[in-house]
């Protein structure tokens, strides 16, 4: 049996187990592949996060960055891509590149650079989970890093002003969402009936965009017009991050009211009668939603 593994990452809100895309990707992959991870959400009383988050700790090994964490899990035989063909594996790499190039800049902008969003939602959320006095400094640093990343990768000539860069990255992000929607079609997951690495990455990037309530929401509005992508996120949330239900009517009833989702103080209702066989830790990330 593999050594116990601990994942430290940003916590959840708005019905999500984590609001941070990379953390969510790793958590989703762990669920899909059945890897037993103990999830430690970073909160006020915990050590300050150093370096990159999420981080996987297993005995003496410390691994950061989602791609490397997923590689490690695969080496421990937790492989969600076992049934994929070589071509599907290649497609996975290509689509992940697409997500990182075309969608991530706009995602970073929505969370960290767009002034109204950052000041009213992102900064307070992160600051409340970081111990003082780092809470005064770290969110600002994350915001500057996000802006740097956007400008470095997309801000070259002939786009010289931030508004032009912004227009371009949102256009690219909307195109990327359209492409993903076309690729998904009516399937449940991107490769057939079982979720794989690509589903983990797409879910990790889309779910925060879909669920977190921001004042400036142009990308979210666009995403909501692609019902198959929304259904994709909701399915994963209800099947892998809550107790699984086989009755479709119960799945619908688990979809909570938007109002309830906004406030992280109201954890979702747990159905104690129906339990997923491999789902021991579903409750732990949800417990951390209450202050």
């Amino acid at each position: 049996m593999a050594a116990p593994m601990e994942l430290s990452c940003w916590g959840g809100g708005w019905g999500l187990p984590s609001v941070h895309p990379e953390s969510l990707t790793v958590m989703a992959y762990a669920k899909f592949s059945g890897a037993p991870l103990t999830v430690n959400a970073i909160n006020n009383c915990w050590r300050a996060p150093k370096g990159e988050v999420p981080i996987l700790i297993s005995e003496d090994t410390v691994i950061s960055q989602p791609a490397k964490i997923l590689n490690f899990l695969r080496k421990q035989k937790y492989n969600a891509d076992y049934e994929l063909s070589a071509k599907q594996g290649a497609d996975t790499l290509a689509y992940i590149a697409l997500l990182e190039e075309k969608l991530l800049p706009a995602l970073l902008h929505t969370f960290w650079v767009e002034a109204e969003n950052y000041c009213s939602v992102t900064k307070p959320w992160f600051a409340s989970r970081i111990p003082f006095p780092l809470s005064l400094y770290l969110p600002g640093k994350m915001s500057r890093e996000a802006l740097n990343r956007i400008l470095l990768t997309r801000g070259g000539p002939p786009l010289y002003s931030l508004t032009e860069v912004e227009a371009q990255i949102y256009r690219d992000a909307k195109e990327c969402l359209n492409l993903l929607s076309k690729r998904l079609g009516t399937s449940q997951f991107f490769f057939g009936n079982r979720p794989s690495t690509l589903d983990a990455f797409v879910f990790g990037f889309l779910a925060p965009l879909y669920k977190v309530c921001f004042p400036r929401v142009q990308l979210q509005e666009h995403l909501k017009q692609l019902p198959n992508l929304c259904r994709f996120c909701d399915d994963i949330l209800s099947c892998y991050f809550r107790l699984a239900v086989s009755d479709p009517a119960l799945i619908i009833s688990l979809q909570m009211d938007d109002n309830l989702r906004k406030s992280p103080q109201h954890p979702p209702r747990k159905l104690t009668t129906l339990k997923l066989a491999a789902g021991g830790e579903e409750s732990s990330p949800l417990n951390r939603l209450s202050p």
Binding site: G89, L93, A94, A97, G156, K182
Partner: protein, 250 residues
């Protein structure tokens, strides 16, 4: 480019057919051009050849400064100047030529994804090798290997990445078969792989990685033969004149 400017450009582009005197500008061949710029230039040249649009390659030391975006290559068509593969593909499309029209929506999505993969991995590797030391060269080489593996698996035994049959027949293997056309993804991959394989660098590690995949080498050879040989008139600027001097694609 701002949305309004782009729409305006598209309208201008659509107004006139492709002229005979279109030119592609890049830096000087042997002394100046960088690995990554050469790959980009070759990709555009391959793309235009595949569309059957004549263009002559002009080498200028100040090409970067002439370019509207500062990036090479750029094309001068009629009275318009367009740089980089993405905008050039759009421009050519506005003039009524497209390689990817026959693809369905899912295939178009796949094509865009693979183009990002190539840009992400191969271009980064080329830039890295040009400018940095070999401190984290292992990571870069591993990325390149992964990318080539993905491309090789995607290509399989087919001639091009997307094998949509189009109108017309062609004579091949002594019989008439439906024509299959390449797409801009094929042009981009060719540009990068051919450059990596044929340029002399301080170490051969990058080209060795690519050479592990025989179907990718066959792919480059096929495109070179089909679209570049026979266009060797201007020997100082042709891409493949250099290949005659090197032991290419062994």
């Amino acid at each position: 480019m701002a949305l309004a400017a782009e729409a305006f450009m598209t309208q201008l582009a659509a107004a006139e057919p492709w002229p005979e005197n279109a030119a592609l500008y890049q830096q000087l061949k042997d002394e100046q051009i960088l690995l990554s710029d050469n790959a980009s230039s070759l990709a555009v040249q391959a793309f235009l050849q595949m569309c059957n649009l004549p263009v002559r390659v002009v080498c200028r030391a100040n090409a970067e400064y002439m370019s509207p975006s500062g990036k090479v290559p750029f094309i001068h068509v009629g009275n318009q100047v367009v740089s980089e593969l993405g905008p050039i593909v759009q421009f050519v499309k506005a003039k009524g030529h497209s390689l990817s029209d026959g693809l369905d929506e899912v295939q178009k999505a796949e094509m865009k994804a693979y183009m990002e993969l190539v840009n992400n991995m191969l271009l980064t590797a080329e830039l890295y090798l040009q400018w940095c030391d070999d401190v984290t060269v292992e990571e870069v080489l591993e990325d390149v290997d992964q990318c080539c593996q993905a491309l090789s698996q995607r290509l399989g035994t087919q001639p091009y990445f997307f094998n949509k049959q189009c109108k017309g027949l062609t004579f091949q293997y002594r019989r008439l078969v439906p024509k299959i056309r390449p797409t801009e993804l094929d042009a981009l991959v060719f540009g990068h792989l051919f450059t990596i394989l044929t340029t002399q660098l301080t170490s051969d590690e990058l080209s060795e990685k690519v050479k592990n995949y025989s179907n990718l080498i066959a792919f480059c050879r096929r495109i070179e033969q089909q679209y570049f040989e026979g266009h060797d008139k201007d020997s100082s600027s042709s891409a493949t004149s250099r290949s005659a001097k090197r032991s290419l694609l062994r």
